[in-house]
Symmetry: D2
Subunit: 139 residues, 4 copies
């Protein structure tokens, strides 16, 4: 997927459908959460749930409904790294390449022991920078 160095493959399951027969809107929030967990594990090297931080903001624009039997591609990248936060960007595409949804979410580093926000670790910054600049270089 153009502009995305990390893509999650997301099959649509029966439980994801709602009473109108397509993937429910709220389920996209779960889909991108899984993409984010994958990104943290594979790119940033974080697997401890407690280190994942908190979501401050979520925005999804729905372009085309998705259906059972489809496997969506979820392009996932970090567009900006702030002092305490990461801005994720997502693009959902159907198997036919059509744009299904676009989303962004702001993720804040959080210290669950101190119960307060914290700065983004330098190690994260380095790994994210390396990964995303490789993607940019390829583009």
């Amino acid at each position: 997927m153009e502009g995305f160095g990390f893509v999650r493959s997301q099959p649509v399951e029966f439980r994801d459908l709602d009473g109108l027969g397509h993937v429910n809107n709220a389920v996209y929030g779960s889909y991108l959460e899984s993409a984010k967990v994958d990104y943290f594990r594979e790119i940033v090297g974080v697997t401890d749930l407690q280190e994942l931080g908190i979501v401050a903001d979520l925005k999804i624009t729905f372009r085309s409904p998705a259906f059972l039997g489809e496997t969506l591609a979820i392009g996932t990248r970090i567009g900006q790294v702030g002092t305490k936060s990461l801005q994720f960007e997502f693009e959902f595409r159907g198997p036919d390449g059509r744009l299904v949804a676009e989303a962004t979410s702001v993720h804040v580093a959080f210290d669950y022991e101190l119960r307060q926000t914290t700065t983004v670790p330098d190690e994260w910054r380095t790994r994210i920078g390396a990964h995303e600049s490789r993607t940019l270089a390829r583009a």
Copy 2:
């Protein structure tokens, strides 16, 4: 609801429907879980999630589909208290009184620190006994 001293009122939400337009089968597992949490809080006096123990067994028989706009009544009782376990019994009824589903679940007392099953506390036994025998006496 006859034979049940504790009844949870469970509105059907849009998110509970599946692609066939009725309450999804797996959602009944969430409904009875909520009924169990309520029973623990109101009858047994337990609110700490860690004290709730684990589910060993779950059985649901589906009698009639449920739909958006309905509020179900979930009759909830403990039919048997073992050394380490509680046997829950549930009856789901529609607003028209029809039987929607019946279920049982076996709940095992669990010590999350020691990571092992434990005996049902005497205090639980006393409270459950008092509540359920009042129900029996009324019947």
Copy 3:
């Protein structure tokens, strides 16, 4: 809730928690969906799922986590009625009055038979206008 003529009472259920012990982010999307279904039924007079239309856009800002045992108040209003769309605004508050989340969603009238967007019915416009202006007048 100030500025909202319609408020949904939303108990937090066990199934709404995630592995971090608070209400999962994506679940807010289901909560506001239920508030919207209630608003459509009680204010607009629409109960047929097929008439509910589609969601074009969803934005949630998370202010404070919510926990099991809390009942949230979801203030729900329509801020703007366009030719084909409705802009919903939501405010989630905890039982202590704290702001839990804010959200907006754009809802598009949709003809499921023709599979295309359609204009907002005049009857909806009238009912929404009457309800929301009463709220404004009270403020």
Copy 4:
């Protein structure tokens, strides 16, 4: 997986965890539903949701909790084909081979137009028989 000719690979997602940090009990109902949908599509040749029929009965025994990062194998077979019903049997195993859960569900053929149960089509019977006897022969 011994005795199962059809196995679904089921990654545990973040949304599947509950407040106790492991896969929620009700989620197993969604997992086996997906396994059943896969079995219908790949073995029986049915993809239309309306043809899937209804679930009459569901029984799950939980043996060992499952966690984020694990991919479960769900062995899926039909143990018995009745006049109007199919008896599914499931076995959930962790990546280390441990038994996570066992389940059965009774599936009833249903005519959604006539709103009544119907007989299992001969074509289903033939395909299921061929598939399951191949599995038996291999054992």
